[in-house]
């Protein structure tokens, strides 16, 4: 059911912040709890939309992830 595992793990990594171990843990909880919450309160078909919606929002609002370090602009 739902997304393949790799895509979920990938979402967690990007949401938490690449290279950040605590970020990955927080991202995993956020995705897991959020997905189940969306199953409870929203139509079941929208389950996968939650993961990608979260991914999309994080990338737009905070591209480096929740705990990631912002890379310096290379010129």
């Amino acid at each position: 059911m739902g997304l393949p595992l790799e895509l979920r793990a990938f979402t967690v990594m990007v949401v938490g912040g690449m290279g950040s171990l605590p970020g990955a843990v927080i991202g995993a909880y956020l995705l897991g709890l959020g997905e189940v919450a969306s199953l409870v309160y929203l139509p079941a078909e929208l389950r996968d939309a939650f993961a990608f919606g979260l991914l999309f929002l994080v990338l737009i609002a905070r591209p480096q992830g929740l705990l990631g370090q912002r890379p310096a602009d290379r010129i």
């Binding site: 990938f10 990007v14 078909e45 939309a49 990608f52 999309f56 990338l59 737009i60 591209p63 010129i75």
Partner: protein, 290 residues
Amino acid sequence: MDAIADFLATYSTTFAIVGINALLALSVWLTLYAGQLTLGNAAFMAIGAYTSALLGRHLGAPFPLALAAGAVAAAALAAPLGLTVFRLRGVYLAIATLAFGEVVRVILLATPITGRGQGLNGIPPKTELWHIYLSLAVVAYVLWRVQGSIAGRAWAAIREDEVAAASQGIAVRRYKLAAFVLGALLAAWAGGLSAHVTFSIDPNDFAFTKAVQILVFAVVGGIPNVLGPVLGATVFTALPELLRPFKDYRDIFQGAILLAVIIYLPRGIVTLAELRKTRRLAEIGAADVA
């Protein structure tokens, strides 16, 4: 003559799909030419397919109008999306557009009017072969001409070095956005055409695998000129038909050919002609100059 007519009749669907895939490959070529990796074109294709099919079914819209409406709908969505996602670069841009594509797919799966998981069936087969190939010829010609224009050179400059391009006074974000919106328009047009070839569409036709497939057509064909994506789409659409004698090993052959092209022709199939020249130059130690 009969043999030719038979051949055309037997393979007309394959020819149609080759042309549509070529259009899709050109849609992703636009952003690739500007150096931007986006994976949202399957979603724009879906928007074009669903919009044109629904308009035809519920409002009885004439076919060209329905196609155009689908293309405009995708472009209207691509503009605000592009404004936000082009704050990202490289692989993050690819991930964000991929996420957008998956959200579109899930929404299609959950909406009653798009038929949810069953999709839409019984779409009238209004697409003629000449519709597809006329579109392809026009688009390929326009894009070929665009390469030498101000916009084409701006895209090339952005691809080579964004900071340098900006310092030359090129409106980097505006040109990126233009490539993205035009690509969406084109993908949706191709989607509308394809929906009226295949009779039925469902959300999984436009999933991640489709996005990657479109990218493979363009990259394997070659980005240096517009011929590349057309060639890539032709080869990789016709290949399963050509490999029919190998039956069960078809996927293996196809994968092997894909790998061989990537390893030996990293700039695409269109560079095959240049290969010998480059090798000669490499022998005399002048490859860098070329």
